[in-house]
Point group: C2
Chain length 168, copies 2
Amino acid sequence: MSLRHAILGLLARSPSTGYELTRKFDRSLRTSWHASHSQIYPELAKLERAGLVEVVSRGARRSKTYGITDSGREELRHWLVEAEPDRSQRNESGVRLFLTPLLDPADRHATYERDLSHVEVELDGLEELRAQVNASEMPEPFAPQIELGIRINTVIRDWLREQLDNGG
Amino acid sequence: MSLRHAILGLLARSPSTGYELTRKFDRSLRTSWHASHSQIYPELAKLERAGLVEVVSRGARRSKTYGITDSGREELRHWLVEAEPDRSQRNESGVRLFLTPLLDPADRHATYERDLSHVEVELDGLEELRAQVNASEMPEPFAPQIELGIRINTVIRDWLREQLDNGG
DNA sequence: AAATGACATGTCGTTTCTTACATGTCAACC
DNA sequence: GGTTGACATGTAAGAAACGACATGTCATTT
């Protein structure tokens, strides 16, 4: 059950409302896990009942800001360090890329082009994020993770360009 | 619904039994999609009812070998080329890697070590596969995909080594 | 002759996820 | 004063996925 641990992780970084968590899943966690608000709100309620998170403040528009509790931190650490990692993945783009050689050259070219545009946009976003982090005074402990994202996307971009150049 | 298209894709490469598909998901598609036999058999039955696959032969132990039909190929092509790709991912390892900076140095080191061992094994497997393909007479249309897998895993391996070297 | 283990196909209950429905708050603009 | 749009939180039905249960085949080994 990664959803709960992803939520715990985001709350360990900073207290958030369900609405903010939804946006964070869509931004920082986009390339690793997806969750919509209809999953997040019920899960927050469950986590609260289990004592792993708590409401730390209430704001405008009925918003509730949740924070992680000590036992939440313990659970998160256990999952990250002790638990056997589940390496299985669900990545539709990966399936597509894997099956692309089945297509005739014209279709193959079109899908590689489409993927290339997407990766380039992705890379631009990550590079901008890196620039922001570098320019800021605050040390950013997640900088290496940004760097990894850039490197992986660069490899994919270059590979796609090669395929297009080689009539792939 | 990627499962059905992943199955169609595997059957487009070569006719297979449900049992063989289960192993193929676990081998070639492991890094992109996971499915167990309890999903595969019912899905094959659905695909057959929909006329996208058909039983092409029956063998020992009640086994049924399925092949893709023309309308299955059409559906597969449509999904690969025309349909709007779903870029959302589910990758527990990615979530872990993303959250690792929350850990203290000792725990962080331990998890990076664990991930490094895993990536190294993965890489060995891929490099062996590439060597087999290179040694074989048959041209392998999926060679570039193997190459991409190697490059991505190499980037991750090097990044993990850097983190370990920098006391990360 | 019996046991083992890979091959082979299925079902079932529970959990997880998606999509759509539903409601309400607040600031800014027209 | 009304509209728009971002903010904000929920529920519910149905689909997909997981883990456990269940059954049987066949070749090899003991």
